[in-house]
Each structure stands twice: as structure tokens, then as C-alpha cells.
């Protein structure tokens, strides 16, 4: 009796490819110690690219497997491709950073791959068990990645905070799942949905508490207020490429899970949940922006601003229409690319020092004009100026909100994005308007920037501009992938 056939594995092909790549990298690192770190990085990238090709092949296949537990619908393929792209970008940004900081572990790349695999399982599964396992694969890998600079107290501390709070929130998630299981008798989303659509099912306190606990745990993963407290500490303590990866891919994965589990599955049309999300969205935007304003470290500012961006996405979550959900997808993609880019600039050393405070950015226009320009592009996109992906993303969200009559929410969102200009602009001012002095004894690097990183950053900036000028391709993809959810 065959429980599982090879056709069941089809939607898992990208995941399997990546796992293979992870083992190859691990074994390469183990048994060919002479191999250069570049080899490992290139192998990792090759793995990501092959998986990406596989994803694209799966598009329109509608493959499902394991009794419908794993699906390769438009939604999961779009998000999985995003993780892969961010993965590639992260590798490109890591190579020089690892060398600069003496992080000589081949495991770094392995963990990066497994984190992506975890996200992919999270996104493509319809069963809470598999989603939970995917979430944990991602989380455990990222705990280690955050703490991989094990001699650096900040890195250790960030890892500890991430681990303890992450595990804490996992407890809430599991408790929520167990209560939902008790209320509906299933852990498969389609069956849960059916059970909850019965009249009166949502009056069952077990179900309500279960859903609320799941919301809390997911709120932690996407870092919305008041579950955001870990974000700035972890993001600023982690190695910068890892920060970029977390802020982009892990957050996108969180929102994918949010949409999959809460918005298309469990019926949350009731005013109750709308009010809850409304409050969370407003708080998240405001707290994120206000705190970002207070920072002197650019990295920490970007960490808080990622909280604010989660708030904008929450606005779309409040609205909850298909148009709003597709704007969630668009904004996640746009933010992932621009956020990675912005953090990516901070991985490159300037006068022998990895930039951190605003002051460190002075003089970029003269000594690193290319990086200064790229950083400005990312900042303008984060502000949401036209011709960038950030503008289209915000426009989509607020337009969806307006169509449903959420005028006040839109106004608060606009005010917040006006507030964000203060601190993003400060970066540009430092890059262009301030003269950096060369510290005594600092060696001027001959090459402007490491080639791998520059490739990645230029690519990211191009995507940001492309999304601003020709957003229609992604918009259509997002809209069609949302339609597969219903």
C-alpha cells in the first residue's frame, strides 16, 4: 500500500532541491576544508537559482501533494520565489561581511538555506502542523544566524533575546493551535474553515481564544506593536546581512502565514477582529515611526522603520478585501527588496569600519558615490516617493483602504509616512550634505566596494525602480495569486 506516491513530491521539488543544496554545502565545508568560502557562497547561490527555476516551472501546474497538505498555488510560488531572491541577495551581501568580521563558518550558508526551506514549508502548507514545523525550522536557523558572531556580546545577547522571546511566542502559537484543534477537531485549514463556518462556531470560547492566541504569535513574527519589542534589539545585534534577511524574508513569510491562516482561512469578518487589527495597525505604524525618529544608529532606525512598514501592511490586513490582500503581497515584495538594499549598504565598510551611526555615513557622496546613490534610491523608496516600488505599494494599500471607506486609517497612514520623511531624509542628508573626515590612520580602500555586494545592491535598486515604473507585472501576479486563495 502506497501512502505517498512520487506525484506527491512534485510541489515539494524546490524544497527538496534546497535541502540537497544544504547538504552539499555542509559536506563541502566538512570534507573539503581547503575549498574557498567563495565556493560555498556560489554553491548556495546555485542552489537558490535552481530552486527558483523549479518554482517558475511549477507556476500554473496547480500541483498538490500529501492529501492536499502541500500546495503549489500562485500564492505560495510567489512568496517562495521572493524568499529565494532575498536568499540570493543575502548571500551576495554576506561574503565580504563574513570576511571582514572573521566569521569563518560554512554553516552560515547551510543555515541560510534551511531558514529559507522553513519559510517555504510555512507558506506552501495547509496544515497547521507542517506550518508549525516550517516556522520552527526557520526560527531555529535564524536564532543561530543572529548569534553567529559568538565572541561579540551584542550578537550573543541578540540571539538570546530572539531565542527566548521566539520560543515564548511559539508557546502561544501552539496553545492556540491546540485549542483550535479542540474546538474544530482538525488541524487542517480547509477543515477548520468548514467547522468554523457552522452557525455559532465562533461563539465557542475555545475557538475564539485559539484564534486570538494564533494572532498574537503571528503578530510576534511580523513584529507588530505590542509584540515588536524584540525587533530593534535583535536587528541591531545580528550580523547586518542576517538583519537584512530577517527583515525582508522572515517578515514576508510571517505575512504569508498571516494571510494564509487568518485571512483566507478562519472567517474573521466580524467587527470584533477588524477593530482589533485596526488598533494594531495604528499602533504599529505610529510606534515604529516615532521610535525610528529617536535613533542615532542607522541600523536601529531601519529596524524600527521595519516595524512601521509592518504597520502599513497591517492597514491592508484590516481592509481584507482581495485588492487589499494583493497589496499585502506587493508591499511585502517591495519592502523586502528595498529593506534588504538599505541594510545591505550598511554591510560595506567605510574607512575600515562598518557604518552604524548617521555620522558614519558622512562623506559617502565623495568616497563611495555609487553606494551613496543606491542608498538614496532605497531611502526614497522607503519614504514612498513616486517612481519607486515603495510609492506603488503605499498607493495600493491606501487605495484599497479608501475603496472600503477606511478614511481615517488612510489619513493616519499618510501622516505616518509624512513623519517617516524626517528620519529617512536624515540619511540622505548625511550621505550628500556632510563632509566625512578621514579618520587618522584609516586606510582608504582601493576598490570601492566588494563586487558581489555591489552586484546585489545594484540589482535590488533596479528592482525597486522597476516596481515603481512597471508595477503591473507584479500587480497582476499578486492579484491572480490572491484569487487562488479563495
Amino acid at each position: 500500500m502506497a501512502f505517498v506516491t512520487t506525484t506527491d513530491l512534485i510541489p515539494l521539488i524546490p524544497e527538496l532541491i534546497l535541502l540537497g543544496a544544504a547538504f552539499v554545502v555542509l559536506l563541502l565545508d566538512l570534507f573539503a576544508p581547503g575549498s574557498q568560502r567563495t565556493t560555498l557562497a556560489v554553491t548556495t547561490i546555485v542552489g537558490f537559482v535552481i530552486a527558483l527555476v523549479a518554482e517558475i516551472q511549477l507556476l500554473d501546474s496547480g500541483a498538490t501533494g500529501f492529501y492536499g497538505t502541500i500546495v503549489a498555488d500562485g500564492f505560495s510560488i510567489l512568496f517562495e520565489s521572493l524568499y529565494l531572491v532575498i536568499g540570493i541577495l543575502t548571500v551576495l551581501l554576506s561574503l565580504h561581511y563574513l570576511d571582514d568580521h572573521g566569521i569563518g563558518f560554512g554553516e552560515y550558508y547551510v543555515l541560510l538555506i534551511t531558514a529559507v526551506v522553513g519559510m517555504m514549508f510555512m507558506t506552501s502548507s495547509l496544515e497547521l502542523l507542517v506550518i508549525f514545523i516550517g516556522l520552527e525550522i526557520m526560527s531555529i536557523s535564524s536564532y543561530i544566524l543572529v548569534g553567529i558572531r559568538r565572541r561579540v556580546p551584542e550578537s550573543n545577547e541578540a540571539a538570546l533575546k530572539y531565542l527566548l522571546l521566539g520560543a515564548f511566542s511559539t508557546g502561544f502559537l501552539l496553545y492556540g493551535i491546540s485549542l483550535l484543534y479542540g474546538a474544530t477537531g482538525s488541524i487542517r485549514i480547509p477543515e477548520i474553515v468548514v467547522a468554523l463556518q457552522e452557525p455559532g462556531a465562533l461563539n465557542n470560547p475555545l475557538a475564539i481564544i485559539g484564534v486570538a492566541l494564533i494572532i498574537i504569535a503571528m503578530g510576534f513574527k511580523v513584529a507588530v506593536v505590542p509584540f515588536h519589542m524584540w525587533t530593534p534589539d535583535v536587528y541591531s545585534g545580528a550580523p547586518t546581512p542576517v538583519t537584512a534577511f530577517l527583515s525582508a524574508a522572515a517578515k514576508a513569510a510571517g505575512f504569508a502565514m498571516f494571510v494564509r491562516v487568518l485571512l483566507t482561512g478562519i472567517p474573521l469578518e466580524a467587527e470584533l477582529w477588524k477593530d482589533l487589527f485596526w488598533a494594531i495597525a495604528v499602533l504599529t505604524m505610529t510606534v515604529g515611526n516615532v521610535m525610528a525618529l529617536m535613533q542615532n544608529s542607522v541600523k536601529r532606525m531601519l529596524a524600527y522603520s521595519s516595524v512601521a512598514h509592518a504597520g502599513y501592511i497591517m492597514v491592508a490586513v484590516v481592509v481584507g478585501t482581495p485588492a487589499a490582500l494583493s497589496s499585502v503581497i506587493f508591499y511585502s515584495c517591495a519592502y523586502a527588496v528595498m529593506g534588504t538594499g538599505a541594510f545591505g549598504i550598511l554591510t560595506v565598510r567605510h574607512f575600515g569600519k562598518t557604518p552604524d551611526s548617521y555620522d558614519d555615513l558622512a562623506g559617502y557622496a565623495r568616497y563611495k558615490p555609487c553606494l551613496a546613490f543606491l542608498m538614496s534610491v532605497f531611502m526614497l523608496s522607503l519614504i514612498g516617493l513616486p517612481l519607486t516600488g515603495g510609492f506603488i505599494g503605499k498607493l495600493q494599500i491606501f487605495q484599497a483602504a479608501l475603496e472600503e471607506g477606511w478614511v481615517w486609517l488612510t489619513v493616519i497612514g499618510l501622516l505616518n509616512s509624512a513623519l517617516s520623511v524626517y528620519y529617512y531624509l536624515r540619511v540622505v542628508v548625511c550621505l550628500y550634505m556632510r563632509e566625512g573626515s578621514v579618520p587618522d590612520g584609516a586606510v582608504l580602500e582601493v576598490a570601492e566596494s566588494p563586487g558581489f555586494a555591489l552586484t546585489g545592491l545594484v540589482g535590488a535598486a533596479s528592482v525597486v525602480v522597476y516596481l515603481g515604473v512597471f508595477p503591473q507585472t507584479l500587480l497582476e501576479l499578486a492579484a491572480s495569486s490572491v484569487s487562488t486563495l479563495f
Binding site: L160, L164, L165, F168, S169, I208, I209, A212, L213, I215, I216, F220, V225, P226, F227, M229, W230, P232, D233, L272, W273, D275, L276, V290, M291, L293, M294, A323, S327, A365, L380, L385, P386, L387, I392, L395, Q396, Q399, A400, L402, E403, V407, T410, V411, L414, L415, A418, L419, V421, Y422, L425, V429, Y432, M433, R434, E435, P471, Q472, L475, A479
Partner: protein, 635 residues
């Protein structure tokens, strides 16, 4: 087909080539590419202009691709050339081309030559997108883009602290205006379900109740945006500071093109604005007040560029006054003539500054007319035009505005009087500028004097061309009452703008009378300037002593810090008439703009306490949040 897209494509290509390769290919490459890009755009604009004149309904529309479409909402990247954008196209590319050519000479010695031209090309691109876009969204792209470029160009000399400050100020002030535009766009989208200009204009009268609250709010928000971009009260103070940028930039962005974007928007939506009489009145009042205030400040400034900057603010106020009284054609006509003569004056002052090795204080100039004959003559033409001396271009456009301010049902004698006084002041400070700079005895220090020389041809030829335009540009719109040529402007814009409810046209005699009065005033002001400034400054000193208070008031930009301090220190003076002026104090406005940031900082320092780095307090807040949510959903 018409190929509208080519117009912005040329400058964009110029930007890309200069920005990415300019550094490697060197100066000669940049020198050719940058002006050529704008030159080609101008040629294509000319072609389009005549095509548009020949086309049905005087409108060409070209849809490039669907920018974004979700559900019922669709925005195309579509360009349109109609009467309004056609005229703007010619101004932007034409004047822009001349300024590019001029910049070759002016910026020749600067480091970062390629960077300057790249930004300048980019600016032209965004400005073209602004006027060509057929929807709010595309206009907004241009709107933000020109703001960004102006920001980059003001900060061009970023080594100077004041330049860095000025560009920050410009950007922040513009963001306040942008917030207004965005809010208005939001409301328009909710009301009309579309963002296309033509649909909004066509349906405005049916969808919105005339004089209703909604239309008033929408138009007021739009006007707030316009005051930011076009430097009107209360958001005008960034423009004089923006003079920190290179002079050709001031000529292009802060005189001829970008600052008229606010006017463009109001004119573009004339059908919407006429539905809101309150807003129209507001525009007229703000315009008149700005015109008067800025002109009075310009009277005593000694920095040549600042005089011109305040003059620009004042002239923009004039144009808003025209729009506010419903004289859209007259307003846009003045945009055109102003673009000619103000660009000319700025470039001329640039030529002077260039010769003087970046000295901008007019008290250190004098008697330059022999050394800089071309600059002198061309600037004189510009001055005659702006002062409203008959048959120069400014005369026609300014008189049209004066007359409309008087005779329009939305206007009145008060508006006319303010505009009239302003016209006199304008004549005075402009001739003062000419006399201080070019006449009298030389106050140039000896070292600079040795090197004084006329600017190269690459700078003087654009001056001459602009001078010709300034002299003859007015004949496009000769008022009816003079009747020796048909009023080209009115024929051109026939049926384009919304009509204000017509009243009895004023009598020809009254029009002639007012015209004669304003010309007389201009001449009187001229002679006053001649008397005080043409030879030595002794007479001025005497006069200044007599009018100490007034003079100082104006010199200090109407009291700035002093009054502010006095009000704080001596509350007894609170009731003085100056209380009103307090509102326009630069400091206060500055603070208002920075207010949200400061409030946010205050809130932030409270929130910061929670982020104390201790893991358990994070867990505590997490749990409290969880309990709140659970309580909320259960109860």
C-alpha cells in the same frame, strides 16, 4: 503619430548618460549631451505644439502602457498635450535649453560638472512629466520629482552649511504642501472614482455642489500644495533660502518653471476651483498679500539674488491673484512673460556674480555697465519688462492682471490697490538693483576690479535671446482695449478654462485710466530709484536716516527675530499691530513645520523607557498585550 513620449525621453536619456558615464567620458561629452537632450525635447515640443493646434479639440493624448490596474481602478501612463501643457512644454524646454547652454559657461570651473548637468536633465524630465501627465498620479510623480531635483540642486554646494540647511528646509516645506496634495487626491478619488484630469474637470460641475464643503476642502488642500511649491504665504520662506544653489538653477527652477507648478495645478483644475468661491477668494487674498509682503522685503535687500528671489515670490503672488479672481488666461500669460524676464534677470545676475568672483552684495558693485555691456543691456530690458514699462512684455501681462483684479466679479478695488502698490514697489526695487549694480561709482574692491570682464558668448547669447523674448513676448496677449493686435492668449485658450460668472465688462475708459495710472506709478518709482541710487549712495543714507524704522523693518525682512523677542520679553507690546506680522515670522513657520517631528520626539522619549533592553520587560509587555487582546475578543 505624435510621439509625445519623446519629449521627456530625451532629458531622461541625457540624465542617464551624464549620470552614469559623464564621469568617465569627461567634460566635453557632458557639454554636448546635456543641452542637446533638452534641445531635441524643445524641437519635438514645437512639432507637438503645432500638431496640437491642428488637432480636434486641441488635445493630443498618448497612452504608453497601463501603469497599474486593480479592480475598478486603473491608471495609465498617458501623456497629453493641450493648450495649457503645450504652452508649458515650450516654456520648459525653450527656457530650459537656454539655461543649459548658459550653464556651460557658468559652471565650467566647478567640480562635479557632470553631476550638475545630470540633475538638471533629470529636473527637466520630471517637470515635463508634471505637465504632460493626464492624471493626478502622474502629475504627482513629476511634482515629487521636481521637488527632489530642486533639493539636490540647492544642496549642490553642500560644503556650505547654509546650502545644506536651505535644501533641507526646501524639502520639508514642500512636504507640507505635498501632504495637502495627497489629501486632496484622496478626496478626489473617493468622490470621482478616478484620477484623470479630464474626467474630473468634466464631471466636477455635476458631481459636486457649487460652494459645497467638499469641493471647498478639496480645493483648499490643493491650494495648500500649491503654496508649498509656488512659495506663497505661509510656505514661502524656503524660496529665498533656496538661492544658495547655483544661479542657473535659481533661474530655471526657482523662477521659470518649478515654482509655477502650483499655478499649473490650479489652472489645470479650473473647473473644480470655480465651484469653490471661498477658495478662489482665499487664493486671491493670499496671492495679493504675498505679492505685497515680498515686494516690500525686496525693497531693501542688498544681495542681488535675494532681491530677485523676493521679486519672484511677489510675482508669483501676482499670478495667484489673477487665478483667484478667475483670470486664468491672464495668470498663465504672466507665467510665460515672467519666465522670460525673470530667467533673464537671474542669468544676468549670474553673469555679474560670475564676473565678480561670487560676490553677491550689491553694495560692493557699482559702475559695472562699462565692463559688462551685454549683461547690462539685457538686464535693463528685463527690468523694463518687469516694471511694466509700456510695450515690454510685462506691461501687457501685468496690466491684464491689474484690470481683471479690478473688474472681475471675484475681484475688487482692494485687490487692485494692493496690486497697484506692488507694481510701484517692483519698479522701484528693480531699478534700484540696476543702478546699484551698473551705475554710480564703483565700490568694487581693487583686486576683483582687475579681473572684471564680460562673460563668454556661451553665456551672453542666451541672455540676448531671453532679452528679445522679454521685450516682444507681450504681444501675444495685447489687451482688447488697446486693440492694435488681437489678444492671442485669449484666442489660444478659448474654451479651455472655466468661466467665472460674467459681469458687465468695465468701461474702456476705466481700463485705459487704470493703465495710465500704473504706468505713471512705475515711472515715478523709476525716477525715485534714479534719484537715490543712480549716482552715489549719500542721498540714500540721508533718506534712510529719516525713515529709519521703516527701512530697518524691511531690511530685516519685517522684523524676524527682534519682534519675536520683543513680543516675548515685553508682553505689553503684544497688542501692537505687529502681532499680525508675527504669523509670518520665519522662526515660527520653521517651528510649525518641525512641530510634528518635535512632538513625535517627545512621545518617543516616553516610549523609549519601555525599550530598556531587559528581556523580561519585553516578555511582560508581550503578555500584557496578549491579555488585552484576549480580554478584548472575549468580552
Amino acid at each position: 503619430m505624435s510621439q509625445i513620449w519623446l519629449v521627456p525621453a530625451f532629458p531622461l536619456l541625457g540624465f542617464l548618460l551624464n549620470g552614469f558615464f559623464g564621469k568617465f567620458f569627461g567634460k566635453r561629452f557632458v557639454t554636448i549631451i546635456a543641452p542637446a537632450a533638452v534641445g531635441f525635447a524643445f524641437l519635438q515640443s514645437l512639432v507637438l505644439f503645432f500638431e496640437m493646434r491642428a488637432a480636434d479639440g486641441h488635445r493630443l493624448v498618448e497612452t504608453l502602457y497601463t501603469w497599474m490596474a486593480t479592480g475598478s481602478f486603473q491608471v495609465d501612463v498617458a501623456f497629453q498635450v493641450d493648450q495649457l501643457s503645450g504652452l508649458y512644454l515650450l516654456i520648459i524646454t525653450g527656457v530650459g535649453f537656454l539655461i543649459h547652454v548658459y550653464s556651460i559657461g557658468y559652471m565650467g570651473a566647478e567640480a562635479g560638472y557632470y553631476r550638475y548637468f545630470a540633475f538638471l536633465n533629470l529636473f527637466i524630465f520630471f517637470m515635463l512629466v508634471l505637465v504632460l501627465g493626464d492624471s493626478f498620479l502622474l502629475m504627482f510623480v513629476g511634482w515629487e520629482g521636481v521637488g527632489l531635483c530642486s533639493y539636490l540642486l540647492i544642496g549642490y554646494y553642500f560644503e556650505k552649511h547654509s546650502a545644506a540647511e536651505a535644501c533641507k528646509k526646501a524639502f520639508l516645506f514642500n512636504r507640507v504642501g505635498d501632504f495637502g496634495v495627497l489629501s486632496a487626491v484622496m478626496l478626489i478619488f473617493v468622490t470621482f472614482g478616478t484620477l484623470n484630469f479630464n474626467i474630473v474637470n468634466a464631471e466636477a460641475a455635476t458631481q459636486l455642489e457649487s460652494g459645497g464643503i467638499l469641493v471647498t476642502v478639496i480645493t483648499l488642500f490643493l491650494f495648500l500644495g500649491a503654496t508649498g511649491k509656488s512659495a506663497q504665504i505661509p510656505l514661502y520662506v524656503w524660496l529665498p533660502d533656496a538661492m544658495e544653489g547655483p544661479t542657473p538653477v535659481s533661474a530655471l527652477i526657482h523662477a521659470a518653471t518649478m515654482v509655477t507648478a502650483g499655478l499649473y495645478m490650479v489652472a489645470r483644475l479650473s473647473h473644480l476651483f470655480v465651484l469653490a468661491p471661498f477658495t478662489m477668494n482665499m487664493i486671491a487674498v493670499i496671492g495679493a498679500a504675498t505679492a505685497l509682503l515680498a515686494a516690500s522685503i525686496a525693497l531693501t535687500q542688498t544681495d542681488i539674488k535675494r532681491v530677485l528671489a523676493y521679486s519672484t515670490v511677489s510675482q508669483l503672488g501676482y499670478m495667484f491673484l489673477a487665478l483667484g479672481v478667475g483670470a486664468f488666461t491672464a495668470g498663465i500669460f504672466h507665467v510665460m512673460t515672467h519666465a522670460f524676464f525673470k530667467a533673464l534677470l537671474f542669468l544676468g545676475s549670474g553673469s555679474v556674480i560670475h564676473a565678480m568672483h561670487h560676490e553677491q552684495d550689491m553694495l560692493r558693485m557699482g559702475a559695472l555697465r562699462k565692463k559688462l555691456p551685454v549683461t547690462y543691456l539685457t538686464m535693463l530690458m528685463g527690468t523694463l519688462a518687469i516694471a511694466g514699462i509700456p510695450f515690454f512684455s510685462g506691461f501687457f501681462s501685468k496690466d491684464e492682471i491689474l484690470w481683471k483684479a479690478f473688474s472681475s466679479p471675484l475681484g475688487g478695488g482692494g485687490f487692485w490697490l494692493i496690486a497697484f502698490v506692488t507694481a510701484g514697489m517692483t519698479s522701484f526695487y528693480m531699478f534700484r538693483l540696476i543702478y546699484l549694480t551698473f551705475h554710480g561709482e564703483s565700490r568694487v574692491d581693487s583686486h576683483t576690479a582687475e579681473h572684471l570682464h564680460e562673460s563668454p558668448a556661451v553665456m551672453t547669447v542666451p541672455l540676448v535671446i531671453l532679452a528679445v523674448l522679454s521685450v516682444f513676448g507681450g504681444f501675444f496677449g495685447v489687451p482688447h482695449v488697446l486693440n492694435f493686435l488681437p489678444n492671442g492668449m485669449e484666442l489660444y485658450f478659448k474654451g479651455f478654462f472655466a468661466q467665472v460668472p460674467e459681469t458687465t465688462p468695465g468701461s474702456a475708459a476705466a481700463e485705459i485710466g487704470l493703465m495710465v495710472a500704473s504706468v505713471l506709478l512705475a515711472v515715478i518709482a523709476w525716477s525715485l530709484a534714479h534719484r537715490y541710487y543712480s549716482t552715489s549712495l549719500d542721498a540714500v543714507t540721508a533718506l534712510r536716516n529719516r525713515l529709519q524704522t521703516t527701512y530697518r523693518l524691511s531690511l530685516n525682512k519685517w522684523y524676524v527675530d527682534e519682534l519675536y523677542n520683543a513680543v516675548i520679553v515685553q508682553p505689553g507690546k503684544l497688542f501692537s499691530t505687529f502681532v499680525l506680522w508675527k504669523l509670518i515670522d520665519q522662526n515660527i513657520i520653521d517651528r510649525l513645520v518641525l512641530l510634528p517631528g518635535n512632538v513625535a520626539r517627545g512621545v518617543g522619549s516616553g516610549l523609549r523607557l519601555a525599550q530598556n533592553g531587559v528581556l523580561q520587560s519585553y516578555a511582560l509587555i508581550f503578555s500584557l498585550g496578549a491579555m488585552l487582546i484576549l480580554g478584548f475578543v472575549l468580552l
